[in-house]
């Protein structure tokens, strides 16, 4: 029996998934299950074979305890909050430093260009740990800063040097036509940058800047060497009290991971919101 083909229209026809496609997908899923099972088995056997006394049940109290109906926050939560505060303040300073440095490098001012270039080269070509010691042991006593602010300033200047290149790249990335169009309608330089150029460089700046924020959060762990009471320091202190090195380092790493992954997801959403309906 001959079945007449439906007439061809401009609407895209639905094509049924072929058997071979289904088979390929199933094979991939099967393969993934095998791989993950092997990994899980190896980790489990490895953990047993280590003969380590896992005490995961003790971990929750490092987050919080309930005493007489009141919640008492544990060292991990307090450390996490301190890490947030440290990273939060540092990123604001880093972006400000980055903005100033970027515009100094883009400006016609010789002094601005030289100072900015010197700052960038000095920061990027010396170890972060050495910079931290300079801030803590040399600058902090001179300016009367405590360890928290020494850490904040060190991280700000370190990440600020990368922020400045990101911001400069974003500003340079906006097409010359947009500068000319702003000039042609007579916008003054301030309006030109704040209303036209910077808003258009945001989509260019945001993705690498998210990477910078994430790297700042990770780098903030280094201030534990000057005993700022953030998450890593809290972890080290707990380990020296309980000797639960494995559990606590896993938990600390997990908290950093959760924080940074949440952040990237949030920024992706925000980027999509910025671009919504414009193109």
């Amino acid at each position: 029996m001959v079945v007449a083909d439906p007439p061809l229209t401009k609407k895209r026809p639905k094509v049924a998934t072929s058997f071979s496609q289904t088979a390929r997908t199933s094979l991939q899923i099967f393969q993934a299950i095998i791989v993950f099972s092997i990994l899980a088995w190896v980790s489990y056997r490895g953990a047993l074979a280590m003969d380590y006394n896992w005490q995961w049940y003790r971990v929750p109290r490092f987050f919080y305890r309930v005493v007489d109906g009141d919640i008492i926050w544990g060292p991990l939560v307090l450390g996490f909050i301190e890490t947030l505060r440290l990273a939060g303040i540092s990123i604001i300073f880093a972006i400000l430093i980055g903005l100033v440095t970027a515009f100094a490098r883009l400006s016609n001012s010789l002094a601005g260009k030289w100072i900015a270039t010197f700052y960038l080269e000095a920061i990027r070509n010396t170890p972060l740990l050495v910079q931290l010691f300079l801030f803590y042991f040399v600058l902090a006593p001179i300016f009367g800063m405590d360890r928290f602010w020494a850490g904040v300033l060190c991280l700000s200047f370190f990440e600020g040097s990368f922020a400045s290149e990101i911001i400069r790249g974003g500003i340079v990335g906006v097409s010359k036509d947009q500068y000319e169009a702003s000039d042609a309608i007579g916008l003054n330089p301030f309006d030109k940058y704040t209303k036209i150029i910077i808003p258009q460089s945001l989509p260019l700046i945001l993705p690498p800047l998210t990477g910078l924020v994430i790297s700042l959060i990770k780098h903030s762990a280094i201030v534990s060497v000057i005993a700022v009471s953030e998450l890593t320091t809290a972890g080290m202190n707990l380990i020296s009290e309980t000797f639960m090195a494995f559990e606590i380092w896993f938990i600390v790493a997990g908290i950093y991971l959760a924080l940074t992954v949440t952040l990237s997801a949030g920024v992706s959403l925000f980027e999509r919101h910025l671009e919504k309906g414009k193109y």
Binding site: D177, Q178, D183, A184, G186, L187, I196, K278, Y279
Partner: protein, 263 residues
């Protein structure tokens, strides 16, 4: 907007008579590096005049009109816009640019702003106009370029012809005394050109002073008061459109026109 005197940006200000020059250029020279882009350019444009500049590519047409609002800085010579001298590196160049509207070949709309915001940003930021008045004026102008129904879209959602008409409206929003057009139809698909030219003709008929770099001969004949023909950084010939297109004086103009017609 209750003051009808000022709502029409293409109406020449009444205190100037038609014979007063709005643009005076004398001895203008410009080099890009060692390349001479403009050489000893002299011309003036009166209020309400429509000038068409044409010539082969690389002859300096765009550079010339871009010098008028200092998107390019010249090295020698003087430019006066409405009596004020325009100098390279001058402090308050914005004030002159606000009197001179410019339309670019590639539209150069602000892609992150809606069509309406593209128009209102100038009056709001430069003239301190409030948002409602600016929007009202912008809608009138969009209506005049036949595109008011697209006011809330973003530039990238419009066709090239629509974008160029928005760009014209954006320039008009600053109520300029002079409009510069830098090959406004060269980047457009053929079916989009007439819509933009119609808007330019309407603008010309409204009395706007215009300097247009264009090869649209129909437009030049219809509204042009004078054609300036440039070649190799110089003004080679200036005449009325009828004479220029039917009976050019110089060999260079003849060659150019024959190439323009034969393609």
């Amino acid at each position: 907007m209750n003051n009808n005197e000022n709502t029409s940006p293409n109406k020449a200000p009444t205190h100037k008579s038609k014979s007063d020059p709005i643009v005076e250029v004398s001895g203008l020279c410009k080099w890009f590096g060692d390349f001479c882009a403009l050489f000893d350019i002299n011309f003036s444009v009166n209020f309400g005049e429509k000038i068409v500049i044409c010539g082969p590519s690389g002859s300096g047409k765009s550079t010339l009109i871009r010098c008028l609002n200092q998107l390019e800085e010249h090295q020698i010579g003087t430019i006066r816009i409405d009596g004020k001298e325009v100098k390279p590196g001058m402090k308050n160049i914005e004030e002159i640019r606000r009197e001179v509207g410019m339309v670019f070949q590639s539209f150069n709309l602000f892609p992150h702003l809606s069509v309406l915001d593209n128009l209102t940003i100038g009056p709001i930021r430069n003239r301190g106009m409030n948002k409602n008045d600016a929007s009202e004026m912008a809608m009138e102008l969009l209506d005049r370029v036949h595109i008011s129904e697209q006011a809330n879209k973003f530039p990238m959602q419009l066709s090239g012809g629509q974008q160029q008409r928005v760009a014209i409206a954006r320039a008009l929003c600053m109520k300029p005394k002079l409009m510069l057009f830098d090959e406004p139809t060269s980047a457009l698909d053929p079916e989009m050109i007439s819509g933009v030219l119609d808007v330019m003709v309407e603008l010309a008929e409204g009395g706007m002073t215009m300097i247009c770099v264009t090869h649209e001969m129909g437009f030049a004949r219809q509204v042009g008061d004078r054609v300036i023909f440039m070649d190799d950084a110089e003004i080679v010939e200036t005449s009325d459109p009828e004479t220029f297109f039917s009976n050019p004086e110089t060999d260079r103009a003849k060659l150019f026109l024959s190439q323009l017609l034969s393609h």
